[in-house]
Symmetry: C2
Subunit: 425 residues, 2 copies
Amino acid sequence: MTSTHSITDITHYMQDVGNKARVASVLLSAAETAIKNKALTTIAKIILEKKEWLINENKKDLIAGEEKNLEAALLDRLALNDERVEGMAEGLRQIATLPDPVGSIIDMDYRPSGIQLGKMRVPLGVIGIIYESRPNVTVDAAALCLKSGNATILRGGSEAIHSNRAIASCIQEGLSEVGLPNDSVQVIDTTDRAAVGELLRLQDSVDIIIPRGGKGLIERVTKESLIPVIKHLDGICHVYIDDDADLEKAVTVAYNAKTQRYGTCNTMETLLVSEKVATEVLPVLAEKYIEKGVELRGCEKTQAIISDCIPATEDDWKTEYLAAILSIKIVNGLDDAIHHINVYSSQHTDSIITQDYTKARRFLREVDSSSVMVNASTRFADGFEYGLGAEIGISTDKLHARGPVGLEGLTSLKYVVFGDGHIRQ
Amino acid sequence: MTSTHSITDITHYMQDVGNKARVASVLLSAAETAIKNKALTTIAKIILEKKEWLINENKKDLIAGEEKNLEAALLDRLALNDERVEGMAEGLRQIATLPDPVGSIIDMDYRPSGIQLGKMRVPLGVIGIIYESRPNVTVDAAALCLKSGNATILRGGSEAIHSNRAIASCIQEGLSEVGLPNDSVQVIDTTDRAAVGELLRLQDSVDIIIPRGGKGLIERVTKESLIPVIKHLDGICHVYIDDDADLEKAVTVAYNAKTQRYGTCNTMETLLVSEKVATEVLPVLAEKYIEKGVELRGCEKTQAIISDCIPATEDDWKTEYLAAILSIKIVNGLDDAIHHINVYSSQHTDSIITQDYTKARRFLREVDSSSVMVNASTRFADGFEYGLGAEIGISTDKLHARGPVGLEGLTSLKYVVFGDGHIRQ
């Protein structure tokens, strides 16, 4: 299926995809660690062997994208080259080396009734991933789901359809080679937008949906999905420089949190500064930011201290710039900072810079974000830095998984009970 | 608000309830354990002091219910008496003695970057609970949410409105007495059905919805809710008697799983028996069941062994009887049993009776239910038996919490990071 089809076709096609995924997921959930690892390294080998072909297939997408006048940034994300294909293979081999979370049993204890009770980590089942342009997501997502024993349904952007098909064929060749079901990883083979809507309604065969992409995609998925969603909406991260901060640490951390990389979701977007230290710390920081080319947007008090600063509007506090722009607000102290964060933060990552024990404790407890930090750069909020090995995304939800989601986040715990003829009295 | 209102009224009222809950939840999430426990024991004290009044208010509901010709079983569940009110107070005191999950930090380790990383257990925020007739749910649910630091919005059945209002006033008196915000627990003070719809759309102020009631309620909530739902749909539980079972244990467990109590969700509804042992074990079991008054519905092979058995239809395998009825199916062996369970089970609780090591291991791994047991009665799947102290329900979902949901299930884990000026390289 390549172009538009009748709704009935798409509905049948997607139901078929869902049913096949469900069947594969049962086999995959019982697959041994060694087989899953073998599949991952085999897929890596095949991807490297077919590198030229993959790059050629990708060219078809690039040419079509140029014809459609896609933005240069989008075309760049779409493009595969030697280095990127090798990166995909390397990612697969790394995931093969991670511990297998499936089957791990924790908290195994005897209860007064005599039964022995524990919790076993099990795959979620079937995971639907809806993503935009970058074809390497196809491999990353499939690999994490495979390692955690889940069947995957992948729906990439229409602009990457040739690349995704080619990658899918490598994945399926690898699965066959080790004897795992082909349907463990399915790439939706139609660019018809209706397929997304159908996927979101497959509540009998799909256990969870993970959207990866812009705000528009995530809002559509959240609204339409009848299936639970693990989502990452925004990264509006804050650093708060407290009046009891070590100002040298404050400058180091606040500079790193903004400038180490601009386009990542854990980059600081708003700097909060206690008014007691603002006149001391802001001029030093402003000079560094301006030298680096960061545009500063401040509240009135900030503008009084930094001359080279444009006024921040209400919208600035709600904006994920993903760019060399920083909004700055001078606050009254800890309470004011926590209040601002709990109103405007996207509950991704927020950090306090302070030497004060009590205030650090309060910030940790009262800021309701997926990562809360003391004297550390928000840029640390990432699956690799947290030791998860890899991440499928960073969840800003509160249920199930919060923060970077790795293999464990793709599993859940079921209870296991061992008795020897035990009955309830 | 007591009767029907315009949609605008209800919308405003519910938005106001949601906003108040959100504000209360911030204060409650930071409340110390001792204060929360004090609130619980104070509410218990007030409920006992006002026992007569509560029973009188409850009478108004009973009279209205009789006028509306409610079923006797429903009226019984609705009724409060001395014993039930004392039970509510005792439940509150028990929850006060449970460990506080909030603020607990696990897996605190240094990372190679030098940051120290852990996970802190935090309240979910605001929990909406939608339930039917039994007024003791008002107290139980409020108490579990309070102890786990969550604000609660309770929507009980219209037939219990006087009882729920009276209980709510006791709860709020207790909250005031210890200085916690009144809005920590709000009972929706209208019987208008539109309020439920509005509650399910408060995605900015409510973090999770827990429906407790019949299948109709749960299906409506799942379909309409824009907020994540923790639900318990059905309890279609199985016991599988394997050909390698110790038949004495098999009889004991299979009898207990069906007859210890009929109306609970962890009661066995379908018995699967390997054909190799069916002729030996089924007559013994059938005699016991029939003596107890259990109606038996069997597959053809079962009928050939048990004369006093009516034919089971396809519907029987899909039915939660909650009554003295049992469906029985003779299967080919372990594979056939696992297949039947994974098709018909509601993923609540399923148990194998076997002495065979390999088959026990396979059953544990391959049966995808929230509780999977070996040689134990399904009736053990319960918050008290599992040592959770109390439960807000049993989740048959796969995300977040599976199985009995206690205080921990009402929390999630956020990452906490401690640095000392650490930056990302």
